[in-house]
Symmetry: C3
Subunit: 388 residues, 3 copies
């Protein structure tokens, strides 16, 4: 790695916290950084009061990261196109102080849910479940834990990577034990951002962990006639409701108030360990894609929730270490990661935003090529108890 | 509407938030506004840290609104008389971060309860109840949701209305779906403030809603010998404890440590759709009154809680869409509002503070005139299961 | 009391809050105060965002108090020796907004637990328990309630006491009813700090209260070969696991990942109402001691949790009004304090940090002298249901 400028915005353990920050690429030496900007501010008022927000502009993709909400990716855009969705939680990003995870039988997490990408984990993800006296709330805790460390890195040498780094600890006496170190990396003019996460065991005993990346897309990438594509090995409908939509699991309808969500649990083929999943619009001239390694993220869940526009018209493309079933169920099936002492689990995903028929068609061809390894096996009914 | 000055103090979605604000009527053109003042500050320290508070002075009534606590009305005064009560929560207004609604079996809302008027709702109000895996906490969530929009309006033309406007959203994926737009309006020198609430359905499906206005009064309006008056159509004691006090339901005793609360569910007569309920002191020279339309607020609950002065010596006059029973019970009896798509429910209440025997007697006469429509039917025992 | 300088840092009810504060002893008249410093700052970033922290330096002991976390004692040091422990919650002190007491079946308190001394109470302490519909969470609420009043006092006359005062209210309608007024007092160059707590009934009815002081020590005072010493009257192992360690209840092993905690419930002999408990290192040249009156704190719990260094290698010396069993169980045995109307309960504990063999040996001799009143009665098995 060549020369690099680093700006530490938060290091809680050393009393570092920067309220307002901006670095304009034009102020740095390399010409290539002109038009790039990284800024940070603290939001004020309403339920976003006290939330730190980092904005990255590259001339190509622009995106916003929320250290206060577990380093989630709030939203992105490319050209005029928004990447994300319209949550009924419209005044976000919501400060964790206003989220009651145990509200509503353990689904209070939804009160703050409005991100393009939110991590679900790390002690559990998926639906709430009871374990002895404890209820583990929907999608766990990491999305509502502020990062204790945040830094911005700008490489002064090509390809001039711009990186947002954050560290989030989910660890306490008798529980947790994992620290996430995440980096969001992009380059000037890029149409992509790569999220690389290291989950380190910070205890002296092996620690169980689950992670699911809840990527959420609405218009303009989601619309009537949009299609999902990925090199599918297997598709399992989660429950009878998902079975109803099985014939068209990869196609989307228009906003439909009262639509009940459908979820499909998938395995994907990979090439050299890498795979890709995409959502394209009807015309086939706009798409979003996730590229990632199946070693770190062997499970893929497709969430279709094409309700009314104001109810949350959205689809989730969700790579994970597991499916969003209760942890004990996943554990039995070997879908919970155990990180050894001093060990770590790594997962890396790249979000690409594609514009134009050529780019979309090229990715579709690439997916088709991987799919050539074998036809998808589509299970006609829920194969698992929690899927039923 | 004539010329009007507007000051936006919070618009979270557009990054507007004003930490300190004051407009002195003397700085505005109309002579009538002299002696009026609207100011806003952020409280610091203890459990009020981070709470925004707006103070309105008119030369007559003065009052304080708390955007951070769902636009509740913290307290008011007229002349030397406080309007409100002394809560054992003495270090309020309490920031929602310190309220655990699910504490103590779902009554943790009480930890922050100290307002002159707090809204109870919107997904539910009344006692906590189970619905499947979910517990709905006492008096719902709206009282602990900060307003995402707050503005001050001052009319430059007579009658020079001074208005505090706030918007509070209780909406998220798979839940809620109502946005409150409230205005508190008064005029220079007035002895009254009018609270007008619009509850808008912000989803693409019909949404159920409950609202109860928990108006709370202690000394000097509440004392031994104080009386409650309203044009009563029916009075139903909530439970056997309330039956014990039925013979003197409209009279108040002295502070009595260990006193167990008594609640009466009432219907009120109205004239031209409007009714009035009042609490007057023993001498009949001080009173507080609520005037409101029974269309928007068909139910009235009277809460008598004359415990020790330091335990909470207080009575609640509580107009609502329903009685504070579990929502399913109220729903069965048609006392839950269903707001259609793009629809709204409106409720308007005016608090009047009366000083002097003449003013008090005039209101008593007005209530007596409405009461002339028919004698109150007082049920000798609890007529409903949840009342028993 | 002679002349005294007082600095009020927080008085929430009167809008007093000081963001940054420092008084250097050198700026005050008495020579003896040179080298002393009291400072206060607000922490920013991560989960400590918004936490107020007070630091006291005396030239001897230094310590930090956290008003935002119930006036807990975060950590201390003397010379080069840290007094405290390494919690897996490493980014503390944690703001109460990030603690969910009802998480994990009621042990969410642990998410913020990292103090040298944290108060457990006041409505309950010990393990979570159900009481009707309510779950009372582990160790109660006081540790997560911010102080509404904070002041620094410096005596200008010998012995130049330096005092941090704080008031924390645990009181609301239908619950709580106790206000803590605490003072942390030390003197220039001292090796000790005295914590004096007054628990006042602020209601008009008798109020039940429990308090347990959770003092927690790790290296260098805790290491393989460290010993616990106190003039023991009785020792009761909490459960079969504690019975396993009974033969060496006063000795400590090395960090041992997977070690399951052991707890011993003790009564202590006293002399003139005072007793002392200590933890010394293997070499016997470093120790920490607690001196306190057994009237206010008749129960003593010893918590041994010698897990891995990164899991929480720690022992707790815990004087209290009771043992950390569910309150109803303690109530039956007369171990719940009932504070009468206008009454108060007082508890005072002095932490001493001892360096050098002579000082350690002297305290051991003192404890042995008190122990001479009678041999400890060590119960061979759990004598109580909750201990089983």
């Amino acid at each position: 790695m060549g020369e690099r400028r680093t700006f530490v915005l938060t290091d809680a353990m050393h009393d570092v916290w920067v309220e307002d920050f901006a670095v304009d690429g034009a102020s740095l030496e390399p010409e290539a950084l002109r038009g790039c900007m990284v800024s940070k501010r603290r939001l004020r008022g309403g339920r976003r009061d006290g939330v730190d927000l980092i904005r990255v502009e590259t001339g190509g993709i622009a995106f916003e990261v929320v250290p206060t909400r577990g380093m989630g990716l709030w939203r992105a855009s490319l050209g005029g196109d928004r990447v994300g969705w319209d949550s009924p939680t419209k005044d976000g990003p919501i400060h964790p102080a206003y989220v009651q995870p145990h509200d509503l039988g353990g689904i209070g997490w939804l009160e703050g849910f409005d991100e393009l990408m939110v991590r679900c984990g790390l002690m559990n993800n998926g639906a709430p479940f009871r374990e002895g006296d404890a209820t583990h709330p929907l999608h766990g805790r990491i999305g509502n834990i502020p990062a204790w460390y945040v830094a911005v890195h700008v490489d002064l040498e090509p390809p001039h990577a711009i990186t947002i780094e954050g560290r989030v600890a989910e660890s306490f006496l008798f529980g947790g034990g994992v620290e996430l170190t995440t980096t969001y990396t992009t380059t000037p003019g890029s149409n992509a951002v790569t999220v690389r996460d290291e989950f380190a065991n910070v205890k002296d005993q092996p620690v169980d962990m689950q992670i699911l990346y809840h990527w959420n897309f609405g218009p303009p990438h989601l619309e009537e006639g949009s299609r999902f594509a990925a090199p599918l090995k297997t598709v399992v409908p989660r429950n009878p409701r998902a079975v109803e939509g099985l014939a068209a699991y990869d196609a989307y309808g228009p906003p439909e108030p009262g639509f009940v969500e459908q979820v499909y649990f998938c395995e994907l083929h990979a090439e050299g360990g890498k795979t890709a999943a995409m959502l394209r619009n009807r015309a086939g001239d706009k798409a979003v894609a996730l590229r990632y390694g199946v070693d770190g993220l062997p499970c893929f869940s497709l969430w279709k929730n094409t309700g009314g526009l104001r109810d949350g018209y959205v689809t989730g493309l969700e790579p994970g270490t597991n499916y969003p079933n209760p942890r004990p169920f996943e554990k039995e099936r070997g879908r919970v990661v155990t990180i050894p002492v001093d060990g770590r689990h790594v997962a890396e995903t790249t979000l690409e935003v594609l514009a134009g028929r050529a780019a979309v068609a090229a990715l579709e061809a690439e997916i088709a090529r991987i799919q050539a390894q074998g036809e998808p096996v589509v299970h006609p009914k829920s194969s698992e108890p929690f899927a039923g």
